[in-house]
Every structure is written in structure tokens, then in C-alpha cells.
Amino acid sequence: MWETVIGLEIHVQLSTESKLFSSASTDFGAEQNTQASVIDLAMPGVLPVLNKNAVDMAIKFGLAVDAKIARKSIFARKNYFYPDLPKGYQISQYELPIVYDGKLEINVDGSSKCVGITRAHLEEDAGKSIHDLYEDESAIDLNRAGTPLIEIVSEPDMRSAEEAVTYLKKIHSIVRSLGISDGNMQEGSFRCDANVSLRKPGDEFGIRAEIKNINSFKFVESAINYEVIRQQELLETGEPVVQETRLYDPKKDETRPMRSKEEANDYRYFPDPDLLPVEISEKKIDEIKLTLPELPDAKKNRYKKDYGLKDDDAEILSLNSDLSDFFEGSMKDTKSEAQMVSNFILSELVGLCNKHNMDISNVAIKPSNVSQLMNYVSEGKISSKQAKDILNDLWAGSSNIDDIIKSKNIEQVSDADILSKEAQKILEKHPKEVQDYKNGKIKLMGFFVGQIMKEMKGKANPKILNQILNKLLGEL
């Protein structure tokens, strides 16, 4: 049996207004090369000036993962040539990163484990090379060049794709909760490299392959799983695993070699003489501590304690700030049980989102809609099945719940007098079945309910109807 060993390097784009070393804007989607200053273009003679907000954001992250914050960290140059790297070097941190020695607890299959965070350092992003714009030439867009990133490097502590994805999701949730990144994976604000190796349990670490630039949770899982099988096949046939960088191709669901260790760059790191060391005082750290928002673990505990949610639900909600924001919005004016609201959001609404491949933060349905629906269900005005139907109508474009109920004429009848009359009518119509019921054929209850529902076009409140039928049959 082989044991899988995984370490992740996550690149998180920080949501500062300007770049890490220039005052150019970091907005996504602007016209090409309009957000590149002379500094981002690496004009001769220009110098970088550090964006202090990015430093504060890195400190926030460090505090959120229980890490040490370096009192003094330094920027280094990572030298290599590429057209979208204007200076011919990337300003990064090498020997003294700003954040180090952190940890994160993750829950997989009901048991929890701790993943070590070796370091998180500040660095600038590169621009983009575009190869499909012109026939014979490549184009370069430097809007992204110089955008601040933190690179979060984990220990090789994960043992399955599932653990890796859970860790990745939790980091995603933390940076979103902290407000230091939009975490948008499609736009590349959150991307990850996975180091994967296999070994016999107890052995030394095996030789690893690094899978570069994976930009969705699903791809991370598929890429790791593919890589595990690939390496396993190699090892079992006695072939060596080669230390190399590989790319994941989601279309073919496979990883392919990009460059081997021999071809790897010698980055010739050295401290950047244009920048002073970053010195951070105890006072600064204390100030930032006070600004930290509620983090996923604390939120989960609050949901369990204050709302009485099941552990799983509390975990899922707390890990996704869009979901938890939606949940808390729905709980605001509700008289309903929190668990019922959570069930409805997590199964019905999230189900719709997944089906339509949309994000809960972008859908037309509002927390107040859910709150209203759940109140109607609690009051017995509509059934939960009807709540689901109405949700579908809302998704399809309707906007007023009361109008939907009216137009569908689906308002539930909970009036005991009306229900008693209808029940009486049916019982009188079926004396034989009533006799059988009294003789012990209690299954016939379903038959009576069905007949009444048929008569009332399904609008009878089943709960109250059941009570009434029990009462009437008992009196007979």
C-alpha cells in the first residue's frame, strides 16, 4: 500500500487598491496595459515603493492561522527572463518571509487534523502573455504585473486529495472572511500548486512532482488523484518518479510534464537593494489583532451554540462566507427553526446554484425570500414541498412570494372547521373503509388523507388534517 503525501502552495491575490510597489490600480478586466505605471513597465531608473496595506493584509492572514509574524522580513529578487516579467526579476521574499510557522485544523470524515503552514510571503504577480490574439506574435498585458500576492506554503501534511481540497477550501474561506482577497478562482485571484509524492508508510518522503497553477477546487482533486495513480503505476513497475513540474489539463483530466529539475531555473535570489527591510512592531500587530473579523472556526461554534445547528451544517456554512452571510440574513426576521432554514439553504438553494453553476452571492434570490418562505411553512400557510416550488419560481424570475401563492392558488388550508367538514364528508362516503380502519387496518389513514387531498386539490395542511382525522375516527 502506498501513502500519498501532499503539500500545497497557494497564491492569493490581495485586494489592495493599488499594486505592491506602484500606485497603479489593481482592478480586474481593464483595457490591456492601461493599468501599468512606469514602475510596472520596469522603465529604466524606476524604483519600487512598498504598499503598506499589503503588509497589513499579510499580517492579518498570519494572525488568522496562528502563525508567527516576522519582526523583520526582507524582499528578495527572484531572477528569470520572461516577457510578462518586465524587470527580469520578481520581487518576492526568500530567506525571511513575513509570516511563518502557522497551522490550520481541518475536518475530514468527522475527524480533525492539523496542517502546518511553513510560511506565507509577500510577492508581486507577473503580467499575462496572450498567445491566441495574433497569428504570428504573442501579446503581453501588464495590467496584472505587480499585483500583490501572498504565497502560502504548507507542510507536506496532507494524505489525500480530499484533505488537500478541505485545506484549500478553509484557506479560501479565511482569506475571504478577512477581506484580504476576493478569492475569485476564475480570475486567478486564488490558485494553487500541489506537490505530490508517494511512499510506503513509515518510509522517507518519495520524489515529488509539482503540479502548477490549478485554479479550481475540483481540478485540484482531479489533478492529485490522477497524479497518485500515475506515480503508483510507475513505482509498482519499478520505474522511478522524476522530480519535475507538471501541468494539469482539465480537458483530458491528466497531468503533463512542463520542465524537469535539470531544466529548472537558478533564480539567483538575493536581497533587493531597492527596498528596506520590513520592520513590524508589536504594537502594530496588536492593532491589527483588534481588527480581525470572526473566523470560520469561531463562526462554526457560534452556529452550533446559538442556533443549535448540526455539526456538518455549521461547518459547511462557516467555511463559505457567502453561504454564512446568506444564512444569517435569512435568520434575521424569521420565526422558523434555524436547522430548517439551514436545510432549506443547503439542500434547495445550493442545489439550484450547483445545477445552474452559479454562485450564491450572484443569484436573484434574497435572504429575505428564504426567511418569508420558511415563516409560511412554520405557520402552515404552505407546505415545504410548495416552498421548494416557489423557490423555483423565484429562481425563474418571479419576485413576489405572495403573488406566486395567489396565482397558483396553493395557499394551504389550515382552518380546522373547513378541514373537519371535508373529512366528515369523506368518512361518510367510505363506511366500509372506516369499519376496516376500526378493525385495525390503520394503514387506511393514508387513504383518507389522499381522498381529502384529492378533493381539496392538495391544499389541506397535512399536519392539522391528520390531527382532525385521528380525532374523528376515534370518536366514531
Partner: protein, 482 residues
């Protein structure tokens, strides 16, 4: 009208003895007349200069006087100048028009100076003779068979020839002081961080410092104030207060300087230079200075450490010249790697390539500790030497260069001999200290410079000692050909 100094020019303009347009025109004419032979300028900016001169004349008519109103100046072609070619002495940037002004340029423009042109220099400031320039060597006005020194050779030669009253330079290992010495003028390299590096094309970022050439020390004092100070665009620039250097030089307080002479700066001198140097020491003693011998025992390693640190930083700083966004792009490239290789092979000269190779090697995996890290340690030792010496003395002096200027071509094929002409100047760059070279005499009719080194941010005492020395001597008044 002939002017002897910046100070005289500023006074003449203020008193309306000459208009700025007249003055500018006279300097432009002098350049036309002499520069074919001297080759001090890469680019002339006549139109820019005359327009600015008219503007300043108008201001003066309205009684508005900027600090340096109407002062003509030559700018080393390492400083980015908006709308003007900024070549850094290299084919690589022969087609480069800067879209922005360096902070030094901006400050001097704002102070009312008139840029006459951009001066010749060793390619990317790498050289000690101005022979590595893509635009050909600059000649020494004392004898045109000789080099003016480098890398700021054009700036030094222009001031020595009196075709510009002052000029800017940059000094990474001696590039202001050495040519000042070989051309018989004043050259000031301020403390690292005193003057912003923004817009100054980087050679070795931790050593580069902008400075000035003038004919006398007071002129340097006047100009230094205008270019100094913190710049938010340069994180390594200092916010230490900028004093009024000129007023400090002229005040009545008579300093009793204790001056150190490092044994290491005198023991290998040839007899002629030794004699000139000790004559100037005698003058200083007569002026009331106390002379002490000091030791800077690690300065002997200065050139070696410098030849690791400077190329290492340059190898990275020059990576941006890749033919992709600006500068020379080879016409023979068919793929990306070719584009880099051909553009850089064609765009850079021999000395620049040599230093990029050395620097790349020094930073490579497996060699970093042995070279770069070790050189940084030596750097600390040298800084320590100076710190200890400055516990005992106020200023340190020595000859700026081991010898007078050498002939054009003489050392071009011997890089080590060339590097050794910086032996007395590199240590101050490694330690980040301010230093100045002032004329102290002649050897075979070629000038020699006296180097005065001060504590960090103590330019004012370097300038004051220079000023007081120049009150006692005439060396700085000697002009070539007269």
C-alpha cells in the same frame, strides 16, 4: 563675459548683468566650439535650454527668482529626462526617450537650472575611463590624448573645459571623484541615501549615488542643497534634515578639524603623487588642522568586494533590457530566446557583458555564499573600519587616485589595472559614506585630486574643509590651456 563659478553666474543673473538667454547661448556656443574634440555630450538640448532660458528671463523680469535661476548645467546621460533621449552611454538605449524625469532632474529643473545637454559616460556607468561608451571616448581637456576618468567622464571634462559651469554625475565606485581628480575639478559624492536615486538608471543599487561636479567647493554646497532630501519614490532615500551647506561653509566658526590619513591610502603611492599629497597635508596643517594616522585595514579588500557586489546587482538590474518593451531589439530574432540573446548581445558592449557574466556567476546556486555573501561581510568590515577611525578623527583624507590620468587605450585590455584605479574610492561606496575630490596639484601637467571622506550625512564638514583649503590654494582656479 567669463564666469569663474556658479556663484558668480547666479549673482550676475540676479543683478541682470546678463540675461539667461545670453548666458545659455554663450555656453551652447562654447560646447559647439569644443565638443567635437572633447566628445563630452551625447545629446544637446539647445531648444529645451533656450525655451527654459526665455521662461526664466520672464520670471526674473517679474522679480521672481528661483534658487538656481538661469544656471546652465549638463546632466549625465544616466538620469532620465522626459522627452529627451536617455542612453546611459549604451547602444541598448540609443533609441530610448524617457517618459519621465528623474527626481534629481525634476529638482534641478524646478530650481530654475537650464539643461544644456546630456553628457557622455561609460556604458551603464561601468568603467573608469569613459572608453566603454557606445558614443566613443571623452577626452581630457588637459591633454586630449588622456582619458578624463569615468564613468562620469563627459560631465567632468565639460566642467574642466569650462563649457558648462557645473554638471551632475553618479558614483558607484568612484565615478564622480575619479574623473574629478583626473580633470582637476571638484566632484562630490554625497552619503548613500542623501539624494534620490529615482530615475537614475541603476548600475549597483546599494552603491549608486548621484552627485555633482563644480569648479569650487562653494558651488557644490549651493547645488547639493537643491538635489538632497527624502523622496517618497525612493525607499532608500533618507529623511535626515538637509542643512544650508553654503551658509555653513561661510559662517565664522573656525573648526579645528582632526584629520586622519589612512596608512593604506599612502603606502603604495609613487613619489610624485606622494609629494603633491603631502604638500597639501602641509597646507592643511598650516590652516590649523591636526593630522593623525589611522588604519582602515580591510580597505585593501574593497576592490575585490566591490567587483562582486556591483556586478551581482548589475546582472539583475540590467535584466530589464530585454528588447521587449523599449530599447534595442534585434532584427534577427525568430523566437523568444533569440530575441533575448540577440538583443542583449547586440545592445550591450564588452565591459557590460563582462560584469553581467561575473555577477550572474556570483549569485548562482552554490556560489552565492562564497562570493556575494562573503563580499557583503567584507563590506561590513570596511564600514566598521571607518566607524572606528571616525571615533578618532573628523575627516579622512588621501589621494583620490593612485596616479594621474592614463592615456586613451592604455588600460582597455587590462580590466584589473582599470579596476585598480578605483582602489581609494570604492571603500566609501561600500560604507555608504560621503566623499569629495578637490584639486591638489599636478603631475606632469596633469591634475591630481585630494579625497576628503566624511561621516554619514556630514557633507557640510567635507565642504567646509574644501572651501577653507581653496581659500589657501589656487589649484581649483587652474584651467586647461591657460
Amino acid at each position: 563675459m567669463e564666469f569663474k563659478s556658479v556663484k558668480e553666474i547666479l549673482t550676475a543673473i540676479k543683478n541682470k548683468h546678463i540675461s539667461v538667454v545670453e548666458l545659455t547661448t554663450s555656453y551652447l556656443n562654447k560646447i559647439m566650439q569644443h565638443d567635437d574634440e572633447l566628445n563630452c555630450f551625447i545629446t544637446m538640448t539647445e531648444e529645451f535650454a533656450l525655451n527654459k532660458a526665455k521662461e526664466i528671463d520672464k520670471e526674473i523680469a517679474k522679480k521672481k527668482f528661483r534658487e538656481l535661476a538661469g544656471l546652465p548645467i549638463a546632466q549625465k546621460d544616466i538620469f532620465c529626462t522626459k522627452g529627451v533621449k536617455t542612453s546611459c552611454g549604451s547602444k541598448m538605449l540609443d533609441n530610448f526617450i524617457s517618459p519621465y524625469d528623474a527626481t534629481v532632474i525634476e529638482k534641478l529643473n524646478d530650481a530654475g537650472t537650464i539643461m544644456l545637454g546630456k553628457t557622455n559616460m561609460d556604458e551603464f556607468a561601468m568603467g573608469s575611463s569613459n572608453e566603454t561608451s557606445f558614443y566613443g571616448p571623452v577626452k581630457n581637456p588637459w591633454d586630449t590624448e588622456y582619458v578624463p576618468g569615468g564613468s562620469s567622464g563627459g560631465s567632468a571634462s565639460a566642467v574642466a573645459a569650462r563649457i558648462s559651469p557645473c554638471s551632475t554625475g553618479t558614483d558607484t565606485g568612484g565615478s564622480i571623484r575619479q574623473p574629478a581628480s583626473l580633470c582637476g575639478i571638484c566632484g562630490l559624492k554625497p552619503t548613500y541615501g542623501r539624494v534620490s536615486r529615482f530615475g537614475m538608471i541603476a548600475f549597483a543599487s546599494s552603491l549608486d549615488q548621484a552627485g555633482l561636479f563644480t569648479t569650487d567647493a562653494l558651488d557644490a554646497a549651493i547645488l547639493l542643497k537643491e538635489i538632497s532630501g527624502h523622496d517618497e519614490k525612493d525607499s532608500t532615500s533618507s529623511s535626515v534634515e538637509v542643512p544650508d551647506y553654503h551658509a555653513y561653509c561661510l559662517d565664522d566658526v573656525k573648526p579645528n578639524y582632526t584629520i586622519g590619513i589612512p596608512e593604506e591610502f599612502t603606502k603604495d603611492l609613487n613619489e610624485d603623487v606622494k609629494k603633491v599629497f603631502y604638500d597639501s597635508v602641509k597646507t592643511l596643517e598650516k590652516m590649523g588642522c591636526k593630522i593623525k594616522t589611522v588604519n582602515l585595514k580591510y580597505t585593501g579588500l574593497g576592490v575585490s568586494a566591490y567587483q562582486v557586489v556591483a556586478p551581482a546587482e548589475c546582472s539583475s538590474n540590467l535584466s530589464r533590457f530585454d528588447g521587449v518593451r523599449f530599447g534595442h531589439r534585434s532584427g534577427h530574432a525568430s523566437n523568444l530566446e533569440d530575441l533575448y540573446r540577440e538583443s542583449r548581445s547586440e545592445g550591450f558592449g564588452k565591459e557590460v557583458k563582462r560584469r553581467i557574466l561575473v555577477g550572474t556567476y556570483a549569485l548562482s546556486a552554490g556560489y552565492y555564499d562564497a562570493y556575494y555573501l562573503k563580499a557583503q561581510k567584507v563590506r561590513n568590515l570596511i564600514a566598521n573600519d571607518f566607524r572606528n577611525a571616525f571615533n578618532k578623527v573628523d575627516l579622512i583624507i588621501g589621494p583620490t587616485t593612485p596616479d594621474k590620468a592614463f592615456k586613451i587605450g592604455e588600460k582597455m585590455n587590462d580590466p584589473i589595472a582599470m579596476y585598480l584605479s578605483d582602489v581609494y574610492t570604492v571603500s566609501t561606496n561600500l560604507a555608504g559614506l560621503p566623499a569629495m575630490s578637490i584639486p591638489m596639484g599636478f603631475k606632469d601637467n596633469m591634475p591630481l585630486g585630494l579625497q576628503i571622506i566624511g561621516k554619514h550625512f556630514d557633507e557640510k564638514n567635507i565642504l567646509k574643509l574644501s572651501y577653507l583649503y581653496q581659500k589657501e590654494t589656487e589649484w581649483h582656479k587652474k584651467e586647461p590651456g591657460k
